[in-house]
Amino acid sequence: MTAACTVHGQDTLPRLFRHVVAQRGDAVAMREKDLGVWRPVTWRQYGERVRRVGLGLVALGLRRRDVVSVLADNGPEWLYTDLGTMSAGGVTNGVYTTDSPRQVEYIVNDSGTRFFFAGNDEQLDKILEVRDRCPGLVKIVVFDVEGLHGFKDEQVMSLDELMELGARYDVEHPGAWDPLVELAKPEDLAILVYTSGTTGPPKGAMLSHRNILFQLGYADFIAEPRPGDQQLSFLPLAHIAERTFTVFYPLRTGATVNFAESIDTVPDNIREVAPAVFFAVPRIWEKFYSGVALRMRDATRLGQLAYRWALGVGMRVAQCRLEGRQPPAGLRMLFRLAELVALDNVKRSMGLHRARGAATGAAPIAPELIRWYMALGIDMREVYGQTENCGLATAMPADRIKLGSVGVARPDTEVRVSPQGEILLKGPHVFLGYYKNAERTAQTVVDGWLHTGDVGRIDANGFVTITDRMKDIIITAGGKNITPSEIENQLKFSPFISDAVVIGDQRKFLSCLVMIDHETVAQFAQERSVPFTNFASLCRAKEVQDLIWTEIERVNKQFARVETIKKFRLIEELLTAEDEELTPTMKLKRTFVNRKYKDVIDAMYDERSGR
């Protein structure tokens, strides 16, 4: 672990940031949409604002290693705070905006947060509600104070006020900034990332500058950076993947980050931005695919034919790539034609026509989906990692693709499988441990090997396949081991199924709970003239039940008999990210779902019930 991890010759994030700001000057670092216009922020402005926030925090009494928590939607202010905090010697911790006041309270106290940044009045209310029980809290800073004039509070200030304070401090203490920037050492704690904790309370993973810089050092594999590259930021910054992609990755590449206006406008924003590289979780990739599938159903007969033909050609090209050979010249010509006829338009409709690289991770994805993107001519790569190793451990190499695997180990990364079948990782990316939780740290990192909690295997060529989370493995009453996520991923590939949880631990057979995709199923019902009113009535419609059963049967065919699903129920509530059933990335939480829908599940195993 002695390898020096540097990017542009710098070994900590504050130094790297100062370095690139000096280099890039008036180039555009980010854009944010304001009243319908994308407004740029240059690297120079970015640098000044980071400095003001950092010095403002120092003026408020920030000490080294003090934790600063940010509860805000993605935007430039988040980044000013992140780098401002780290440059001043503090530690930044992102909190999910979907968290409840109770969860915010837990994280603030567990992390010993002294300074809390809230995005707007809604997020401010959460911390105000619980601050009496947060004794360590010194100051609350609000990014957007709209709707807060008339509100006065000793403990609360605006970001503008903080930056003014920082500017004054700068004038009064000339020369204070540079020594601060130099303060951090590579092995120092840089950020805290709380993991969602499907079992037990969330834990704060400690990541060092070295962890992050190591990852940045090899970050170009998805696509070689080019000047003028655009990115879109819309997944939660509290997640390590989006944090790396939005905040850290551009420090290396110089790409411009564009912030989506809201999660609802992402499809429009992608088309406007036309990103060069795009990272998303499978759910987003599934949504794009469903969108295209739906549009094609409404397309003219000719359009459908053209699409089907072009996709067929694309699939053949993709197959060549999968087999590791060049497509023959004739097929290449045909593909060019297919692009002109249909594929280019499909990509344009998704906003991915300029995407040179695309990556998926943070959750399992159906191989068919990757194949579909490859057929469109999008270089889609699956990556694997977790918060505890700063996000990235394996990735699909460009020249050798093995669908269903998560690729091979990244450079300087060791991967092996424990006798229990658990995936273990070693390398400069392995985290410092859980914050103030030596016991869990000792269980997780043993002799330098990070125990991922994932079960998987490695083939002779080094391709890693993840089968499931260790604790999720189902052992049926018959004693058969089943990895539910393999089945769930196949189910999710259906445009009608948003997510599914397979059940069967200690049971006689497998069953599942399904969350339908509201849009596509509603459209299906409309097309078939199936009457429905609200979400629950849509779920109860016999035709919808039959539709989902057909989708399940289709998946059942791909698995052995003991692994087929015999019964299912639909989740009749339209869940949102605020609901505890879902993670912030909209995955159903297995344990929670098992608990909450216990009655529904038990009913499926009641001898007297039918399908």
Partner: protein, 257 residues
């Protein structure tokens, strides 16, 4: 539903390329008052217009008393006993009040019955009697609304579609009009489909309610239960739990549970 006088199934209605109603299904039971709530632009008026034949649906069926009426001309729908009282009254301003009312009965041949019903509506709205010979255009907004309802009533409809009867009226008048709607329903068994932005009033007089959002139904229940839902309270009744700061500008996310 047991005895649905009006059955709407998978209705889709467009304004040019814009889909205003995106698959709406609902029932109105005979003898009931049913309300459709929704914000501006949710598609409430479009639903009524499609039911009464003013607009034609792209898809879906509307059955009235067991008979499919979608796409039928509005005058034929009216003759079947389904009367639409449009938003903004739309009375005949240059005719007198009495003439307006008689226009409402143009489909009927029984002079005696018409005369009796004239007395009935004057009973409900004495002010119309007082203004009998006045031009309708000179009436106040509230009186015009009364006239519009009365005119529809003159046809002895089995069902009335009321589009925002409270629009632009003083609170006292709103109360009065809603009371009359309840009486008409009770005393004459007229089934009512009521579209309202005044959710509080509508939920208190109706038996059953649907919530329409961007062209789709997101919630349905008895009005008693709807009044109890958090989303209805916050988004339709303006009841907000106070935040720690005392005021709250941001809105919760709607979940429609």
């Amino acid at each position: 539903m047991a005895d649905a006088l009006l059955q709407v199934r998978n209705l889709e209605t467009f304004y040019g390329p814009i889909m205003a109603i995106r698959g709406v299904s609902f029932d109105v039971e005979r003898g009931r008052i049913v309300t459709i709530l929704g914000a501006n632009g949710a598609g409430k008026t479009t639903v009524l217009k499609t039911v009464s034949g003013v607009m034609d649906p792209q898809k879906g069926t509307v059955s009235f008393d067991g008979r499919e009426i979608q796409g039928m001309d509005p005058d034929r729908v009216a003759r079947l006993g389904l009367r639409h009282v449009p938003e903004g009254r739309e009375i005949f301003p240059f005719l007198t009040v009495a003439e307006n009312l008689r226009m409402g009965a143009f489909t009927r041949g029984d002079a005696a019955g018409v005369a009796a019903d004239l007395e009935m509506v004057y009973g409900y709205f004495p002010v119309l009697k007082a203004r009998e010979q006045q031009r309708a255009g000179s009436l106040s907004g509230g009186e015009q609304q009364m006239l519009a309802i009365s005119r529809a009533l003159m046809a002895r409809p089995a069902m009335m579609l009321l589009d925002e009867p409270s629009l632009g009226l003083a609170p006292r008048l709103v109360k009065e009009i809603f009371e009359i709607i309840v009486r008409i329903n009770r005393e004459h068994g007229v089934t009512v489909l009521l579209v309202e932005q005044n959710a509080n009033m509508a939920l208190h007089i109706a038996h059953y309610g649907y919530v329409l959002e961007v062209g789709r139904i997101v919630m349905e229940d008895t009005c008693a239960r709807l009044l109890d839902k958090d989303d209805i309270k916050e988004f339709y009744l303006g009841v907000k739990e106070q935040s720690v700061r005392g005021t709250r500008r941001w809105k919760r996310k709607k979940t429609w549970r």
